[in-house]
Symmetry: D3
Subunit: 242 residues, 6 copies
C-alpha cells in the first residue's frame, strides 16, 4: 500500500475534489490518495509573494504526513512552494508538481515549453517565476520558452473554453516558433485541456499532477527518499516562534 498525501497550498477547497478524481484515475491499484488544502494563505499562487504567503502553511500541513501514516507527499502546485524545506524536514519522499514535470519533460524530448497561467498584466512575472524554479533545478537550458494563457487561476474553471483554446494556441507557437518538442502545463489548475494539444500537435503534454503522482509512487516503490545530505534535517531544539 502506498499512502500519499496531496497538499493543495491554497486556502480554498475548490480544487480538492477534482484533484482527487484526477489522481484516482491514474494511480496504481495499491495507492491511496488523500487531498487536503491549507487553512490559511492565499486562494491562489500567482506571484512569488503569494508563494511566500502560502509556504509556511503548506509546510505545516506537509509536516504532519508521517505521523498520519503517509508514505509520500505531493505539494500540489507547479511553483513547488516549500518543497525544498519539506525535503529537509521529512524522511519520506516529497515531490512537487513543477520539479516532477520538468524532469519528465526533459526525458521525453530535447526542449520543452511551459504553458502557464495568471493575470494578463503579470505575464512577464509568471514567466520569470517559472524560470526561477527551473534555475534552481538546473534545467532552464532545456526550456524552449515559457508562455502564458493569461487567465487568472481563479478564473480557470469558468473560462474552460478560452483556456483550452489558448493552451492550444500557445503550444502551437511554442512548437513552431520556439522549437519546443514537449509541452508542460504549468499550473495544477489546468485540468482537462491537454488532449487537443497532444492529439493535434503530436507532442507529449505533461499534466503536472500525474507526473508528480507517478514520481511519488515510483520513489515509494523504490524505497528512495530525497538526499538527506543535500536536504539535511533542520536542527531541533531551536526557538521558532509561530
Amino acid at each position: 500500500m502506498k499512502r500519499i498525501k496531496v497538499v493543495v497550498p491554497v486556502s480554498s477547497d475548490m480544487w480538492n475534489d477534482s484533484v482527487k478524481r484526477l489522481m484516482d484515475d491514474y494511480k496504481d491499484a495499491d495507492t491511496l490518495i488523500r487531498v487536503v488544502n491549507i487553512a490559511k494563505g492565499p486562494e491562489s499562487l500567482e506571484c512569488t509573494y503569494d508563494e511566500v504567503m502560502a509556504e509556511m502553511f503548506a509546510l505545516q500541513e506537509v509536516e504532519k504526513a508521517p505521523k498520519e501514516g503517509f508514505h509520500g507527499v505531493i505539494i500540489y502546485c507547479s511553483s513547488d512552494p516549500g518543497l525544498r524545506a519539506a525535503k529537509e524536514k521529512l524522511n519520506i519522499p516529497v515531490v512537487g508538481l513543477g520539479e516532477s514535470s520538468y524532469h519528465l519533460a526533459s526525458m521525453l524530448g530535447s526542449s520543452f515549453s511551459v504553458i502557464t497561467v495568471g493575470p494578463p498584466d503579470l505575464v512577464a512575472t509568471q514567466c520569470r517565476r517559472v524560470r526561477d524554479h527551473l534555475k534552481v533545478y538546473a534545467l532552464e537550458h532545456k526550456c524552449a520558452s515559457v508562455r502564458s494563457v493569461a487567465i487568472p487561476v481563479m478564473d480557470l474553471e469558468k473560462e474552460k473554453t478560452k483556456q483550452e483554446q489558448r493552451v492550444f494556441a500557445e503550444s502551437t507557437k511554442a512548437i513552431e516558433e520556439d522549437n519546443a518538442d514537449t509541452i508542460v502545463l504549468g499550473c495544477g489548475g489546468m485540468l482537462g485541456v491537454a488532449e487537443r494539444v497532444s492529439k493535434e500537435l503530436a507532442v507529449p503534454v505533461i499534466i503536472p499532477a500525474i507526473a508528480a503522482l507517478k514520481m511519488c509512487e515510483s520513489l515509494i516503490g523504490m524505497g528512495l527518499v530525497q538526499s538527506k545530505r543535500c536536504f539535511g534535517t533542520p536542527p531541533a531544539g531551536k526557538k521558532r516562534i509561530m
Copy 2:
C-alpha cells in the same frame, strides 16, 4: 497490464536471470517483464566501440517489441546504446538505464556522482563515455564526478566482494571530495552492491535497472511516449541493406 520488454544489449545470456529477478522484485503488480539478450554483438560494453558493435543488434531486438505485444521497452545498459534511434523507430515508450537514472538522481539531490566499471586501463575512457551521455541529456552540470571501480564487466560477478568495497570507497570519495549528495551506479551489471552505501553514507543510491523500470511503468501508466517531434519516425521505403 503493462508488458515490458527488457533488451540486454550483449551477446551473452549470463545476466538475463538476475535482471529478471531484480525487476520482478520491484515491478508493479500488473507489470510483466520479459528479458532477452541479443544474439550478436560484444559480450559486454566497455567503450564506445563496443556500443557501436552492439546497438544495431539491440535495435533489431527492440524493434520487434510492438508486434510482440509489449507496451514499453527498456534497453538494459547504462550507456543507453541505440536509445535515441529506438525512440525514433517506436511509438511505445523506450527508456534507457542511464537516462532514467541520471534524471532520477537530478531530482533527489543537487549533485550526483556516477560510479562506473570497466578495465583498469580504460578508466578515463569510461568516464568520458558517461560524460558523453550526460552531455546529450544536457545534465552534465549536475554531475559532481564520474568514478570507476576499475573492474571489467565480465568480472563483476566473480569479484563481488571487491566490487562492493570499491563502490563504497569511491562513493565515499565522491561525497567527501567531490561534494556529491547522490550516487548513481553506472552499470546494469552492478547488482547487490548498493545497500552499504545507502545505509552507511546516508545518501540515495540509484540502481539503474529499477530507475528504468519505474520510468517505463510510469510512462505506460500516463499514456505518454517520447516526443515524436523530437524523435521522428525514420523514413520508410528507403534502402537499408543489412
Copy 3:
C-alpha cells in the same frame, strides 16, 4: 536624505545593535539606518526550512517600509529570505545581503568563494543553500567553492576566536585549493572577522552587510528600483488569509 530600513529576519533582537553600529560606520552622511528584527519566526536561519519559517514574517515587516517613510529596505540575511517577494510588493529598492555581495564579488575578481556558517552536521546542506541562491541569481559559475566554518549562528558571538581562525583557514583553502580570488562572508552574523583574511591573504573580503548597504544607497541615489516587469506587483483584491 536616504532612509533605509534594515529587517533582520530572526525572532531575536540580539543582532540589532551591532548591525546598526556596523551600518553607521559605513553609511553615507545623509543616510539614516533603522534596524528591526521580526517578532515571530526562527531565532536563526540555518536551513531552507528556517527560511520558509521566517520569510512571511520578514515580508510583513518589509511591507510596512514605504508607509513608514523609508526609501529603501535591506533584508539582513545572506539567504535573502523573501527578497523576490518583497521586490514584487514594493516600489522602492529592496536588496538582500546575499545578492548584493555575490554581485560585488563578481566584479572584484574572476572567481569568489563563500565562507558560510551553521551546525557541523549540516555543512553540505548549507553549501547547497548557498548554491541554490547563486543559481537563482545565475552567478553559480563564478563561485569557486562554498566552505563552512561549521559554527551554528547562535554560537558565532561566543566563538569569535574560533570563528576568526576558521574563516582564515577556510579562506586559505578556498584560495589555494579552489582558486578563489575573492572571499564573500556568507552570513550577516559574521562580524569583525574579515580583517586578517584581507590583510594576510591579500584578497578582497566582502562583508555582506556593507555590500547591501552600498547597493541600497546607490539605488536610492540613482533613482532606480527593481524591474517591475520582472517583479510585478501582486494582484490586489485577492483573498489571503493570515
Copy 4:
C-alpha cells in the same frame, strides 16, 4: 605523402566520384585521397536510426585503414557516425565532417548556423540530431540556429536549383533573424551550393568536406592523433559476435 581514406557511410557509391573530385581540388600537393562507401547500411543517413544502421559498417571500413597504409581517415558524413568509436580503435587521426566544420566555424566568427537537409516531415528531428552532436562536442552554445532546406538526401542532386535557393534563403534568415555570422553546410551531399551565400551575404560558408580534409591533413602534418586517454583502445580478447 599523406594518404587519407575517406569512408562514405552509405550503401551507395553515388557520391564517391564527386567527393573525390572535391577533395582533389582542395588537397595539398602531397595528399592522396581514396574514397570508398560501405557495402551495407542505409543509402542515406537522415535520422539517428539510420546512423545506428550505418555506423557498424562504417567502422569496419575505417578499421582497415592502417593496414591499408593510410595515415588518416575521414568519415564522410556531418553526423559523424562511428567517429568516437573509430577514435578509440585507431592510432591514426580520424576526423568527421561535423566535428571539423563546427570547430572551424567556431574560430571564424562568434555564432554559426547549420543548414541541414532531410525529408520535410523530419525537419525537427534533423535539427535535434545536429544539436545532439553539438552537445557532445560541447559547442552547442556557439550555434545560433539549425535550419533545414527540407530536401531528402537522395534528392539533393536532382533538386540542385531548389537546394541552392533554399540554402540561400535559410542562410539569409540565419543571419538576419538568428544573428549568425558564419554558415555551416550540414550535409556532405550539399555540393556546389556555397558560393552564392558567401558572395552575396558576405559570411564564411563552411563546406564540411573541405574542413575535414584540412583538419586531417593538419593532424597528419603535426604528427598528432586523438587523445588515447580520452579514446582508449577497445579491450582485445573480448568476444564480439558479428
Copy 5:
C-alpha cells in the same frame, strides 16, 4: 572625501563637460569628479580596432591617478578599454561603464538588453563586441539581446531626437520580443535619452556613467579594491619600449 578621476578614452574633449555635469548631478556630497580625455587615439570607439588604438593611451592616463591624489578611477566607455590592465596596474579601485552597468542590471531584473550605438553597417560587429565583454564578465547568459540604434558615436549629439526615438523603439522590441526586463544603455555618449523608456515602458534603464560612479564611490566607501590575486601587479624592471 572621494576623489575620482574619469578618463574618457577618446582623443576629443567634446564629452568632458557633459560627463562632468552628469556625474556632478548624481555624485555623493563628498565626491570630487575630474574628467579628462586622452591626447591620442581615436575620436570614438566603435570596433575592437578602435579599442586597441585607445587603450594604451587610456592606460597611461589611468596610471597617473594615484600620484595625482585620486582614490578611484572610472574608464568612461562601455567597452571598458584597458580596464583589466588598469586593475592590474593600480591599487585603487578602477571601474568601467560596461562592467558596472551589466552587474547592476543583473541585480535589478532577470534578463537585460543592451542598446548600443555605431555605424549602421557595423551593427553586427557592435553586438559581437558587447557580447565579447559580457563573456569576459561571465554575464552573457543574463543578456536577452543586444540591439543598436545604428547611429555613429560622433553623430549622437546632433541626432538627439532620432537617438531618443530609436532607443525607445529598440527598448520596446527588447522587452516585447526578447523578454528583457531591464535596459542598459550601451554607450557613455547616450545622454538624456533614458527618461521616456523608464517612464513609458516601466523598466529600469541603466545609464552607465551613473552605474560606474556609484560603484566607484561604493568601493572607495567600503575600502575595497579589485582582487590583486586576480589582477596581479605587472612585473617591474621589465623593458617596455614606448
Copy 6:
C-alpha cells in the same frame, strides 16, 4: 604559394630565429614564412597590462601584411594580443596561437589543460588571463585546468631543463588530478619541451605555433577568412591620432 607573416608581439628579436626554424619544420612545401617582431612594446607579455602595451604595435605590424603581399598572418603569442582587432582590419586570415591551439585541443579530446608560464608571484594572474581568453572563445568549459611552470618568459631559454621538468610535472597533475586528456602549451616561448609529455603520458601535446601555422595554411587553402559580419571593417575617415 601561401605567404604567411608571423608577428611576434614583443620588442625583442630573440625569438625570431627559433620561431622561423620551428615553422619551417612543419610548414607545407608551398608555404613561405616571414617572422618579425615589433619595434616598441614590452619584451614579453606576462599580464594583461603587457598585452595592452603590445597590441597597438602588433596591430600596426599586422596591418601592413596585405600590402606586403602576405596571404595570412599569425600573431605569435598565446594571449592573442590584438587578434580580434586584426580580424576586423584585415580581409586575409589572421590567426592567434591561443585560439588555434584551444580549438585544436577541443577536437582531440574532451578536456584539455593549459600549461602556462610567467613570474612565480603572478601564477594566479596568468591563469586568469588564460581563462579570460577561453571565455571570449566560449571554450572555457572544455578546459580542465590552467597550470603554470612559474618561470618568467625571459628565463625560459636559460631554464630549459627546469622548464621541461615542470611541464612534465604539471602535465602529470593536469591528467591525474584534473582529468585532462590533452595538454596545450600556453606560451609561444615554450619550445622543445613537448616530447617527454606526449611520449610518457600518452596524450597529445599542442604546440601553439604549429597549431596556428596549420590553421593559417588551412584557411588560405580553403579560401576562407574570418567572418566580416562578426569582425566588420573599422570605419574609415575617422580621426585616430597616434
